[in-house]
């Protein structure tokens, strides 16, 4: 929200420099984002009245203007088209600087000397966003009656500092000059000035002849209406326009400007209806079955019976708290206005504005909550201003439908509790003083308890904790000392699962893999690229950001492939990646949240083959204390049918590993060979054993035997190894497949597997009598199972 410092100063005498004021406000809870002087550069621009316009003797497009500057007269040559005799305009005189820093001097325009220049809004440095193109491009024409020879810096408040404040959601009362002024007053401990409202003694209730108001919906706690006769619809006075401009609001005409002015000043949205266009003597606040309304911005909007409307008893004339209807708009012909100062429930306005896709200054204020007490004051403040600027004459009487006036809240604050809660020690008098500065009414009801009456506009104060914050923010958060917590000693630390997660990551990093971070979203289409069947256990979102992010991923593989694809397309020659992250799937049990399962994906391209990745996985498993994993051919459809395996340990499936299927390679625009392994974290953790236990070093030597086995190519090495293990008993210490050979001397369809076997007994030295029978047994079993032979 933009706040004009000059306007603020009309309520609080702020003497400290703007920056310091901004800091002080921030530290008491009103965060100041920026402080901007309206126009720093502009000097020596004064108001002047064009008294005579003559054609230029030597140029068709130029005119020569005589300008009365109040104290002297000067000649200005201009090409501007919108000036006229009698117009009051800003004149940059000799030596002036305009907003963009250009210096203005006396210039010869084809033989006529021009002693300065007329200025546009932009050249004055004012907010150009708020004006139409025509006004912005022409010379700024000032209202008749503007004094001559006045410095533009003063007249247009170019010295003003615009404070951009970020308000928190609970402080709806700060959405106004008066609200920020109250904060400034409390923060700086300065008194606060009041404002004038219409307070004439009225002798009649004339308004009753024109209008009555009925509220038929609880979403409108109060409706105040005042009627005025319009004297003339015209531009509002410059001082009012400038205040609106510096608050970021476009001036329109005197009536509308006053409603906006009061909204900015007090925070109460107002609306003015053209009485004659209402075509009715009553206003009824209710929901209707009408389908459409054309709003003030000339748009036809679809409405329904959930939206609160202001009606003339029949048809809607405004969307309550959001925007007026075009059918009752103020026009140049308007002679009678109904000034509405009403209160609407925040929930109702929020839903309506949301459904209409229409957020206005009014709706955004109501959405945060407006104090119902404000409606009456605002109506009278607007009446006062409309009379003061000569826009209207009053019609006596006021309509105020306010069925349920709420009593002021009272909250007790125990000073002892407060001091213990915050960790400071303030006296009851100090606390009382700070609350008073914030306009709370405080009464001491015991030596340590204050009864605090909350102003009606402080909708956010309910509990003693709320009051504690009020006191502390005035006392100063920075004044609270920092202490270290007492209480019980807490051990804290990581759980075994958390330690295991760290360990897995470290093992992979040590093997040259980079950890990735990918989004949790995927889509039907991205999953189809994985060559897999449509899954029915997915988690689709109701409101995703586009189709490609419409599902929570149930696998990490797709994202790993996308990482590879990106790196490949960027000409990174090789890559090794991993990610330990959640995957998501439907929970078949009703009434329970979806299942979140952590998976570990490892992938690579460029430098590796299947066995490199498998080796990395085997090391990962070994380091996790997982023994004898089995890699059994098979796995998901995104993997190469001839190069994929599922990994088991003791019958528990850990995951799968393989080369990416050529079709998927195409779908994901991958390099020809990519490898992926995906493991279930839970299964890994279940099978892991990170306990380190010492066993004595062997005292007796080992015996080594090499075996080269000749067998059919399609028999998996794992099956051979299983037979060797099974028939070796406890004396087999290790087994190492050191050669797989096909080619010369090996028949077609056969291969030779060469194993180094290491036998050891921990109580004695083994000899041939121990080992030979074992070898014989292995060979005969291999022969029986696979028709395998020892290769001589």
């Amino acid at each position: 929200m933009f706040v004009s410092l000059n306007w603020l100063k009309e309520f609080v005498d702020i003497k400290i420099p703007p920056y310091d004021f901004g800091e002080a406000l921030t530290m008491s809870g009103t965060k100041v984002e920026t402080l901007t002087v309206v126009s720093e550069n502009v000097v020596n621009i004064f108001t002047g009245k064009i008294t005579k316009i003559e054609p230029h003797p030597n140029a068709d497009k130029l005119i020569v203007c005589t300008v009365d500057m109040g104290t002297d007269e000067r000649v200005i040559v201009t090409a501007a088209k919108n000036v006229f005799e009698g117009a009051i305009v800003p004149v940059a005189v000799d030596g002036a600087v305009i907003a963009d820093g250009t210096k203005i001097g006396t210039n010869d325009f084809r033989g006529v000397l021009s002693y300065g220049m007329f200025c546009s809004i932009e050249e004055l440095g004012m907010n150009t966003d708020l004006f139409s193109k025509e006004i912005m491009e022409g010379i700024l024409i000032l209202p008749a009656g503007t004094p001559l020879g006045m410095d533009a810096r003063e007249l247009f408040w170019l010295n003003d500092v615009i404070i951009d404040v970020e308000l928190t959601a609970n402080r709806s009362d700060c959405q106004s000059i008066i609200g920020i002024a109250r904060e400034a007053s409390a923060t700086l401990d300065l008194p606060m000035a009041g404002f004038t409202i219409y307070a004439a003694t009225e002798s009649s209730n004339q308004i009753a002849d024109y209008l009555s108001v009925k509220i038929e919906d609880q979403a409108c706690p109060r409706y105040v209406a005042k009627m005025l006769k319009v004297k003339k619809i015209e531009a509002s006075p410059l001082w009012m326009q400038v205040k609106l401009l510096n608050s970021g609001v476009r001036p329109i005409n005197n009536i509308v400007d006053v409603t906006n002015y009061v909204m900015l000043e007090l925070g109460q949205p107002l609306h003015a209806f053209d009485y004659d266009s209402l075509q009715s003597q009553e206003i009824v606040v209710k929901t209707t079955t009408d389908k459409k309304i054309v709003t003030l911005d000339d748009k036809e909007r679809n409405i329904d019976e959930t939206m609160l409307m202001i009606t003339n008893g029949q048809a809607p004339v405004a969307v309550a708290g959001v925007m007026g209807g075009e059918n009752s708009e103020i026009t140049e012909k308007t002679s009678l206005i109904v000034l509405e100062a009403a209160n609407f429930n925040k929930g109702s306005v929020r839903l309506t504005a949301k459904q209409l896709g229409l957020r206005t200054e009014a709706s955004s204020r109501f959405e945060k909550g407006v104090d119902p007490e404000l409606a009456g004051i605002a109506a009278l403040r607007a009446t006062h201003l409309l009379l003061e600027i000569g826009a209207c004459e009053v019609i006596e009487g006021l309509i105020d439908v306010y069925p349920c006036v709420e009593a002021l809240k009272k909250v007790n604050l125990d000073v002892n509790w407060f001091n213990a809660f915050v960790g400071i020690s303030l006296t009851i008098a100090e606390i009382s003083k700070m609350l008073t500065r914030l306009f709370f009414t405080v009464e001491k009801i015991s030596d340590h308890v204050l009864e605090v009456e909350v102003p009606s506009y402080r909708l956010d104060i309910e509990l003693k904790e709320d009051l504690a914050e009020e006191v502390v923010r005035i006392f100063g958060y920075d004044m609270i000392p920092g202490t270290i917590m007492g209480g019980e000693t807490m051990v804290g630390g990581k759980t075994p699962v958390q330690k295991f997660q760290d360990a897995l990551k470290n093992i992979l990093v040590g093997q040259g893999y980079y950890e990735t971070l990918t989004s949790s979203f995927t889509s039907e289409k991205r999953l189809q690229g994985l060559n897999s069947q449509r899954e029915d256990n997915l988690i689709p979102l109701i409101n995703p950001l586009g189709e490609e992010n419409s599902i929570m991923r149930h696998t990490l593989v797709g994202h790993q492939l996308e990482v590879i694809s990106l790196n490949y397309s960027r000409k990174n020659p090789f890559g090794q990646f991993f990610e330990l992250s959640n995957t998501y799937r439907k929970n078949e049990k009703p009434g329970e949240l979806p299942i979140e399962e952590q998976k570990l994906a490892i992938s690579s391209y460029g430098s590796e083959d299947y066995f490199d990745l498998k080796g990395a996985v085997e090391l990962l498993l070994a380091q996790s204390g997982i023994k004898y994993p089995e890699f059994i051919a098979g796995g998901s459809d995104f993997l190469h049918p001839g190069r994929k395996a599922e990994i088991f340990v003791n019958g528990i499936k850990l995951g799968e590993i393989g080369e990416i299927h050529p079709v998927v390679v195409k779908n994901y625009e991958l390099p020809k060979r990519c490898y992926v392994c995906q493991l279930s974290f839970d299964a890994l953790f279940e099978c892991s054993s990170l306990d380190n236990k010492f066993t004595d070093l062997p005292k007796f030597p080992a015996s080594n035997r090499d075996l080269a086995i000749l067998l059919k190519s399609d028999i998996p090495a794992a099956a051979v190894e299983a037979i060797i293990r099974k028939n070796s008993g406890e004396i087999l210490e290790s087994i190492d497949l050191f050669d797989v050979y096909t080619g010369a001397q090996i028949p077609d369809g056969y291969k030779s597997l060469a194993y180094a076997l290491n036998f050891r007994h921990h109580e004695r030295t083994l000899n041939d009598n121990d080992i030979n029978p074992v070898i014989d047994q292995i060979l005969s079993e291999l022969k029986r199972s696979f028709d395998a032979q020892l290769r001589e």
Partner: protein
């Protein structure tokens, strides 16, 4: 006999001198000193000698044996020495050639940041708590005192799976779970993934990361909140770091604050990183709202506590001077490899 022995010695010494390789050296030893060696055989003939001659010849034979052995070992040393010298001559390499490549990976910078934060709080006796990312709306909003009609609940702000199940928009629901499941005293942090309906750009992402902290005990004060978080900031950004607590508003805390730290780049003078303010906003915090305590089954008259939450992605970006949030999620190796 004496002559015979001396000739034997001379022959042996000549043979020894002729040996050029270590492996043939032993042949000489065997030839003369072995079981069937010449000296051995010669000594066997000593039985035929007279008792006068025997000690003299015996002594000589021993002297010769010793002399041969000494010569063998001297020759061995010489040959060994020569062999090593030859080996060294042959094996010299260009030590300036590059070493063999070993692959190094590393953790994602976000993980590194999170690890650093975890370590700080683990050191203060905190535990790490976890909770689901797909969460009951009531845990994400209701129990955290977020008003029923608050816009954060809108479809424009929060991803929904079902009407009552959302992708958590903050790590705060973990607070609720911990308070409901465990008894105070509590000291937890909870880093994790959170979601909001923001289109991805240089500073926003629909998927991002937060870390929540919660302390509940008897007699926890606002002053403890300040002290703890000030200590955290000093540990993370350095001893010289100052903190500033500004009043703010959150539904689940009262009083609430935002904490700024002096810019670690410029030290508070003002620079690009801190938008010339000298300060960087790091986290939101506050005393746990009594409504939240009550909703989670903790008596606010008996216990108090504080909570804090910070954006991990943003801290990572500022810490490393990364200019675009999207880089974190893109995983270009040239990016990943920069963070050791």
């Amino acid at each position: 006999m004496e002559l015979e022995l001396k000739q034997l010695r001379d022959r042996c010494l000549t043979d020894l001198n002729d040996v050029e390789e270590l492996k043939t050296l032993d042949n000489v030893r065997i030839k003369y000193l072995g079981k069937k060696g010449e000296l051995t055989i010669a000594l066997k003939g000593m039985g035929k000698l007279s008792s006068e001659e025997r000690p003299i010849i015996g002594k000589l034979a021993n002297e010769i044996r010793e002399e041969i052995e000494n010569n063998i070992s001297a020759q061995k040393q010489l040959l060994e020495h020569k062999e090593i010298e030859a080996q060294i001559r042959e094996e010299s390499i260009d030590v300036s050639l590059p070493g063999k490549k070993h692959l190094a990976g590393n953790l994602h910078p976000l993980t590194t940041t999170v690890n650093e934060l975890k370590e700080i709080f683990l050191g203060m006796g905190f535990s790490i708590a976890e909770g689901p990312e797909i969460e009951w709306a009531k845990y994400n909003f209701d129990y955290l005192n977020v008003p029923q009609d608050h816009s954060a609940r809108d479809l424009q702000d929060t991803f929904y799976y079902q009407d009552d199940i959302v992708l958590r928009t903050q790590t705060s629901p973990v607070q609720v779970r911990v308070m409901q499941e465990q008894k105070p005293p509590l000291r937890i942090i909870s880093p994790g993934r959170v979601y909001r309906c923001d289109e991805i750009d240089a500073t926003h992402s629909p998927v991002f990361h937060q870390m929540e902290g919660l302390v509940i005990d008897k007699g926890i004060t606002m002053s403890d909140l300040k002290g703890t978080l000030d200590l955290f900031a000093k540990k993370l950004f350095g001893e010289q770091t100052k903190t500033k607590f500004r009043p703010h508003q959150f539904y689940f805390t009262e009083p609430s604050a935002e904490m700024d730290v002096t810019c670690f780049k410029c030290g508070g003078v003002g620079c690009k990183v801190c938008s010339n303010t000298g300060w960087i906003e790091i986290l939101g915090c506050g005393m746990v709202h009594p409504n939240v305590l009550r909703l989670c089954g903790i008596d606010p008259d008996e216990y108090s506590g504080f909570a804090f939450g910070m954006g991990l992605d943003r801290i990572t970006l500022t810490k490393y001077g990364i200019t675009d949030l999207r880089l974190l999620f893109e995983n270009d190796l040239r990016f990943l490899a920069q963070f050791k």
